[in-house]
Subunit: 314 residues, 2 copies
């Protein structure tokens, strides 16, 4: 009975250590070590190399260690075992910290005050909208979007949500599907993108979409926060919209190519905040425990939770 | 029946306009205009010049237009009429926006990521505490402190509050009085100062107090947020503590002298965020209406709300 830890991009060792601690009776292997493929019954993956899992004849479950699963579907040798994605309250809370932080940076014009500080300028003019004057629109109303909506509403923001299929929320005015997308965009001063990356959503955040956002808000132009996936956005279009004034600013945690190349103009654009895809980092402590609990329940005959729909790819 | 608007530091005109709109039957005068002192029955003040209100024989109520009232007690010619201070839900919400924003800037190490962005560095190492790992301590648990405590707790922070006299809170572990101050400081990773400025609190945020804050938190040193009054802090001591490492950083909205002098080392200290005393700006819209409603109720024989205790000076 063995767990294979198949990670690239993150340090795999802390994960292997954590799994050994929470599953004391089980062998834990790292990719690249020597192990018997037939002994592997579980895999814990984050961006495993293509085909690295192709020959595991007794694989029972594949666990994705981050919130997204698009990294799995890019593997042409993906095994047919059920895929379970992480739905972790710690990860959800961290994403909401990030979303709330950057909505408040926009609302409270912190970047403007940073610039004033550098110039030693004390300007306290009175144009200061309150959260209640600001309309946040969240694209993607799964676990992450719902939690962010609740916390933003509690701070006073006017929150709406958009999802592909109709959903309900007590904290957000809901819009669904292609038909209601434009109405949703037209009422949003801050657009928060938390969509999964699928064939349907790839490249969706483009100039056409950004130009439909609200222009009648307190600042006269909208703000973009993408904490979903880089493949959702067209970076050239974001820069065009910033420079033509149809976008006030942007906070981007994810990029078409990661790490963001040193030559990208996003790094030095005065209206852009770049963070290194750390809005919601999976922690070995909490997620290792969650995977161990799921395996124990599964082996007791209980159904798996948070199984990925391989047709919809999320 | 006349209202005198006695404001310095802010533009008085928008206030006078707002009062004229919400009290159509009443004369509204600005300080410096010609008016009959005996006709003034109400004053709306923010930092009025000393003795400017000394000869108003029929003054019934003095309204303070901001959250603090220390600006009034520095006037040796302060009239003996009851003083009513603003307790405004809009102002409270704005203060909580500010406090939550800067607690999240600290938690999410946004200043470090700002620096990395300037250097085009993509470093996503995994040391990222969650709000649940961070202990916020709020000094001053009146309307503002209670609201901030609720919102911080909802984001997952561990919140405690300290007040001069015992108070209760469902969102914060409470400490009271001089005896419990040190225990409160020892458990606080982020200190949020929302105290009123009184003879007892003046200069309270000094090196002695800052050195008692927690050193065993996620970042190894505590963070200070002062959104109360500049007179509470000893700026020389804040700089000393930053430079000796007993303080990680500080966000200051208020200063010993305002505007903050151009020569102050706070402007350019890499660990200090300076904002121009705008954490919670009084808005003529909401506060003008509140004052009009209080006057109408008072003239109907109802008791005044939020009267200042002139012995305690807040």
């Amino acid at each position: 009975m063995s767990l294979l830890v198949a990670i690239t991009g993150w340090e795999p060792e802390p994960w292997a250590e954590r799994f050994r601690r929470v599953m004391p009776g089980r062998n834990v292997h790292l990719l690249g070590e020597s192990y018997d493929p037939a002994a592997i019954d579980y895999v814990a993956s984050w961006k495993h190399p293509p085909r690295a899992l192709a020959n595991l004849p007794n694989l029972k479950v594949l666990f994705s260690l981050g919130a997204g699963v698009d990294h799995l579907f890019s593997d042409p040798g993906l095994p047919s075992a059920p895929i379970v994605r992480v739905v972790d309250s710690d990860l959800t809370a961290r994403m909401s910290e990030y979303v709330v932080l950057h909505c408040l940076v926009c609302l409270r014009q912190q970047r403007r005050y940073d610039q004033q500080q550098r110039r030693r300028e004390w300007i306290d003019d009175r144009l200061q909208p309150a959260a209640a004057d600001m309309r946040v629109g969240i694209m993607g109303m799964g676990e992450l979007g719902q939690d962010a909506a609740q916390k933003l509403a509690m701070l006073g923001f006017q929150v709406a949500g958009w999802s592909r299929t109709p959903r309900r929320s007590v904290h957000a005015e809901m819009y669904a599907g292609a038909d209601e997308l434009e109405s949703f965009l037209r009422r949003s001063d801050i657009l928060v993108v938390l969509l999964p990356l699928t064939p349907e959503t790839r490249g969706m955040i483009d100039a056409d979409l950004l130009r439909k956002l609200a222009r009648d808000g307190a600042f006269g132009a909208p703000y973009l926060i993408n904490a979903g996936r880089g493949g959702l956005q067209i970076e050239r279009d974001i820069l065009t919209c910033l420079d033509e004034g149809s976008l006030l600013g942007a906070t981007l945690d994810v990029f078409e190519q990661e790490p963001l190349p040193g030559a990208s103009p996003l790094w030095s654009h005065p209206a852009v905040t770049v963070t290194p895809h750390n809005a919601a980092m999976s922690s070995p402590e909490t997620i290792g425990r969650q995977v161990a609990e799921q395996i124990a329940a599964f082996e007791n005959g209980e159904p798996l939770k948070n199984i990925v729909d391989s047709a919809r790819k999320y």
